[in-house]
Symmetry: C4
Subunit: 230 residues, 4 copies
């Protein structure tokens, strides 16, 4: 049974079978999305249920193998991914015993398994290193962005609260406008209508776009540097 290998930390790896397990996780996420569809035909229920049972069986088997074959034995149970794996399969067994309504919300925990995808990839470590290089600037820009968001919310609140008491009723209401505007998403559900509010928006955007967009450039250059020093 040379499929099962151990890495230098004694963790179990299934070689190319790992890829199949990852594929099964992705299929599970798609199945989860399908189950949320309203008016799903009755005929779809049995195959979805069978797929659910089948994949939980695989995940349970994988969990047990990792638990029994890991070195030192049972150490997997207390590792981060061991707990994630348990939380990902536990809801299924619990749900069969209790009220069926709560199944959906519990299944959200299966999303944690996606983190496994991260563990396998060595490139994610480069991502992590780039994060360390630019950490200080990212924190500073994050803090500055929050301050800009707050200040622009306070500003627009004073300009628009009389003209649009519904949309700009408080600083918290205005914060929603700040977020949608400074990220340039601009849904259009709230936007300034007064002259003062529009002039203010102009200045907010000039300052704010840079604050919000610069970290991206910073991180990209840090990633380039992380690749060079490899």
């Amino acid at each position: 049974m040379n499929v099962i290998q151990h890495d230098d930390k004694g963790r179990v790896s299934f070689g190319s079978w790992d890829f199949l397990i990852q594929a099964l996780i992705v299929l599970n996420l798609i199945a989860f999305a399908i189950e949320t569809l309203p008016g799903i035909p009755q005929g779809w229920q049995p195959p979805l249920r069978i797929f659910e049972v089948g994949s939980v069986t695989v995940f349970t088997l994988e969990y047990l193998l990792r638990l029994l074959l890991g070195r030192p034995r049972l150490s997997y149970a207390l590792s981060f991914f061991g707990i994630v794996d348990l939380l990902a399969i536990l809801p299924f067994y619990l749900a069969t015993g209790f009220d069926l309504r709560s199944i959906r919300a519990f299944r959200l925990l299966r999303l944690f398994r996606l983190l496994k995808l991260a563990r396998y990839s060595s490139a994610m470590q480069r991502f992590h290193r780039a994060f360390l290089i630019a950490r200080e600037e990212l924190v500073l820009f994050g803090a500055t962005a929050l301050i800009v968001l707050y200040l622009s919310a306070v500003g627009i609140y004073y300009f628009e609260r009389d003209a649009q008491p519904e949309a700009f009723g408080s600083v918290f209401h205005s914060l929603w406008w700040s977020v949608a505007t400074l990220t340039t998403v601009g849904y259009g559900d709230v936007h300034p209508v007064t002259v003062g509010g529009r002039v203010f928006t102009f200045f907010v955007l000039i300052v704010g776009l840079g604050i919000v967009a610069v970290p991206t450039g910073l991180f990209a250059s840090a990633l380039s540097k992380a690749r060079e020093t490899e």
Copy 2:
């Protein structure tokens, strides 16, 4: 007949005439767009038809020349662009024999000819080299972006499904919101209205904008590097 040359792979090249063929392709695309106009005047039909016949004649002639003069002879028929060229002119001859309604849909295949523009340009190779340099990161970010899209769709589904059962009826419905939001397009047709959904959107945007925007910076720096190593 020194217009016709052969490159080192034995493919036929028409020298500066290639440019005219490319221009004809662009004119064909414009003509295609004009034909889709509703309420197009009757008087425009004959010149469009004449242009269509004329350009297919040129493309057919070009195809035959490439087929007969290529080395080894007829090898063009099985090359990628040989098949593209055939698919681009075939619909015209087929459409005259069959129902005229299907002409339009078939003509879409002519778009493939645009790929020829790519073959000729040497700068596209630099583009390709940059893609190879940043490939690993681009794949990683592509995967991460998909995961972020999925997670944000699941999240907003739980926050907004009760308040807006129409727009956020399932994870698939919510995915449309995720795409429009994380790319900052923000059409405004769907947007969160609950406090929870808006706070969630805020955090999704902070994380998501970087994920979606960083690959662009990565590719730009890879292109700079590709130019330096030329």
Copy 3:
């Protein structure tokens, strides 16, 4: 009393207590936002008032300490942050004497205290240095962006004023469209409907996006350089 230190310019610093004062500023800002909420329950008023009185007490104490212990003594009163600090606590004492309605508008001055956060961080200096490196380009791009905004507003005014006299009634009205479009916020409250206006928008976006987005890239690269030369 070794908590109080002096930096090389004779300014008072409270060591790790500075962090607590900053946290108090942030809490004050949140409290300010909560007070703007319409229909705030009566029960929330007393704790908010107590928090207000308490934090002003701390800020007043801090101001007096900085004033008395600074070298040379009282020099703090005329320094930039000394004036900011005074303006931040003065409204509270004035408001108790005068009409209570004007409290809210006055409290906006407390936002100035956030600038203190900037003084403490050494990374903000790197930010400042990057600004100096890219200053010339940023000014140029700022001026060019303003010209592009103006020209696009004049252009769209001529294209859309007849079709949408409400939204594009003057160059100033059109400027609002220019700002929302060139920053890609795109609220959707004003957008061209004529063919000419849409073709014009296309060209404006091709030129304008670069003008508006390039400074961000410039600043990011300047920040990288500022970190290297440290």
Copy 4:
């Protein structure tokens, strides 16, 4: 009269007075915008008229000085900026002789004078040099962006023409959607409603955002390089 200097090409320069002329141009542009305001009070007309006459006098004087003092004499009349200057003041003299209605449209020519701002700045030359460095890529990306715009317009046309015959009536109608979407402006006046159209939009955005956003990064890095080689 040492205010008037000659640069190495024999062109007239007014030293620090040039700045005043530039300021006058900016004031003229603001005045132009004010004149387009609907319902402008009668009282504003005379001062605007006086300002107009005054600034044209200054510009005429400047033109004559440049014309008479340039070396070789009168050579300014045929230079690019000589023609721009003439076109900027001519409408005023013509408009007094002819119908007053046409004044507004003519005055748009004064915008050309803004190009003078560009001539004076030495930093604009760095801008120009960066453009030359990245020219090839910018052309390639420009062409690719146009192709992506066209292809996405054709694609969405097939997906949405039946569901929304108004908004997606032809490829030209769909092009408006392509422009608004790929630049992430997203006004929201047109957006896909079918499942196919939305999935298509997803893929278009993944490919298209890079195509549209990469040139910005390219230009920013070219500008950095242009500054280094100075």
